[in-house]
Symmetry: C3
């Protein structure tokens, strides 16, 4: 499954439109190139519909929001919905302000998302309007652990059904759900928390994999999460004395650049619930 | 020629004003520092004329455009024209939307460009209003090859005369033309397509070299293209097992940082037609 | 002192709100993660007060300014003042335009800054409305040297008293002053001038250290400056043949990631005047 999804991505090389924040836009573009997709960034209301229409997927990221960007997201998202293209939403730091909450609510009301990816605090904020987190990181109190998996998975499945979307909850354990099934994914390395934008990058990767595998969205999403996490593991093995978070950032994207379907199948660690 | 142009750049260390996209702005700034120029970025209408006036060259890049940025480009470009400073235009993804086409047309109408750099699809779009490409990459159908060089070169020379500019068409074969002569440049490495912003970086390098060599714009432009391409070759030789596109990105800029005039003369591969 | 300040930062891991330019925002975020702080970026007027209120420090950076960003800085800065949070101001390229000078003047009038960090030309521009520099670099005529230290230090102390702030003047010799004392710091490597955003990064580091050490602002500031400079020295020792400014950029942040209080105490070179 993972092998096929990844190979479809390399074969199809979909063009992905990202409306994203300026903090991690460069990483997102290079990540998309690493996985053999083609990035394009555009966020002016005057052009986003047209740009989306020549792409195979749309990646909407709530970091550093402003009114123009949110309007552009609404226009591009609706156009992608009309065209049947996958649309991924990353509600970066949605718990941090009323402004982000309202923007997220409006986007969720007017756009049908193929997938929503966030940490568990961000997803709780989308569901309830608040969580235990005020920043871009998940709150410890919200963390998904082996102990609370049995509670969290049904909660996420209900949200998937309500929102008619695939949900990706990133954390030490990653969960990838639709209304029926949940991949519990154990790949990753805790040092990834010291690299800015790994979440933004994962959302872009998710969009690319969903664009290349339109009939198996859940599997495509699980592939993206395993790939990002396993790349974090491979990258960690390349670290030497004196290396730090910037070298690690580069090594993760390099690992995605060099990943084959076989390597991914072998390295992925997950179970289905 | 190349040696002299590059050494003038190191000697003069021109300050370059870039109005550019947020995806690759950091790479552009580091590239300019690598070639010993001084970067400054400013894109508010209120300050761009003043900033341009204390610089030796202006680099206008159409990535992630919006109305404010385009207005700022118009102001800065006109000021640079008044002061006789080189102005380079990079019509990033101009085929992707009517909005970019109109912005590019307005810029070309109101500003006299010293050089325009794009892939061949972008240049065709500037000339005809359309091409075979909808993204930031050139379309295969537009590609410059050994087989169609005899057709493409006269076409570009006509455009140079019409627009009174140097044209740089980037691709597997790079062409650097004015109305009379054309450098056909064979430097480069195909892996550069997996690094975001190599085009944006080349346009900045072009601006710096033209600022340092105001009386030989065609030679300055050819030097920039040979330098970027040869840096891509040198960088590729430094790649090790496990390295990917992010490491390659860094290695290219590092190679420019370490390039001497002698090395460049030796590594450049071009012919004049 | 340095050891304690740095260990407090690692222990407390403060969330830092940066309103900053798009050129170096990614580096700033990764730098904050390297020193174990938590970055958040937000610059819409609608949300900045709320975001500041859940952070422990605010970092205001004048690069690529526009009206919205300056308004957001005013709102966030006033809120931080109300809450007693440290606010750091980095007047990037303030000598480059009337627009930046007016924005800086307004920010200094309405916000009480815990620290202001710039090169000596930028600080002179804040004080007198002009300097010998028009770009983002200090002018040679303004440079702090061993020969003029006796003149520069009292000048800075007067400004500290007038503005009721800690002043950090970056250069070959770094000065960290309040109205009474001045740390003269000799750490650093001249190759840091070829890396974009080391100043922006230092201002973010300064904010993090001040947030973690609220009762010893001068010492916290000196720690930030020694740490950045010493990281530049450590990073330089890791450079190999073929490495250039991009590799150096990464190595500096990596060195901060790996720095311990003991290493810093041993490597710091300063005197108190």
């Amino acid at each position: 499954m993972l092998k096929e999804c990844l190979e479809n991505l390399e074969k199809i090389s979909p063009r992905i439109h990202s409306i994203t924040n300026y903090v991690t836009a460069n990483d997102v573009a290079n990540l998309l190139l690493a996985c053999k997709a083609k990035p394009i960034m555009a966020d002016a209301e005057q052009e986003v519909e047209e740009v989306t229409a020549v792409c195979s997927g749309l990646n909407l990221n709530l970091g550093t929001p402003n009114d123009q960007k949110v309007s552009a997201m609404l226009l591009a998202g609706k156009r992608a919905n009309q065209l049947g293209l996958p649309v991924v939403f990353d509600p970066v730091g949605v718990g941090g302000s009323v402004y982000r909450k309202q923007a997220a609510a409006k986007l969720m009301q007017e756009i049908s998302f193929t997938a929503i990816r966030g940490n568990i605090s961000e997803i709780k904020t989308l569901a309830f309007g608040n969580s235990n987190s005020y920043g871009v990181d998940a709150a410890v109190a919200d963390a998904v652990t082996k102990e609370n998996l049995e509670q969290v998975i049904p909660f996420l499945k209900v949200l998937c059904s309500r929102w008619n979307t695939v949900l990706v909850a990133s954390g030490e354990i990653d969960l990838v759900c639709d209304g029926k099934q949940c991949f519990v994914i154990y790949n990753g390395n805790s040092a990834m928390q010291y690299v800015t934008g790994t979440g933004c990058q994962l959302s872009a990767l998710l969009t690319a994999l969903m664009a290349a595998n339109p009939y198996t969205p859940l599997q495509a999403a699980a592939t993206a999460v395993c790939l990002m996490g396993y790349a974090g593991e491979v990258a960690w093995k390349h670290m030497k004395a004196g290396d730090g978070n910037i070298t690690y950032r580069g090594r993760i994207i390099d690992a995605i650049f060099n990943m084959t379907g076989e390597m991914l199948e072998e390295g992925a660690r997950f179970e289905l619930r």
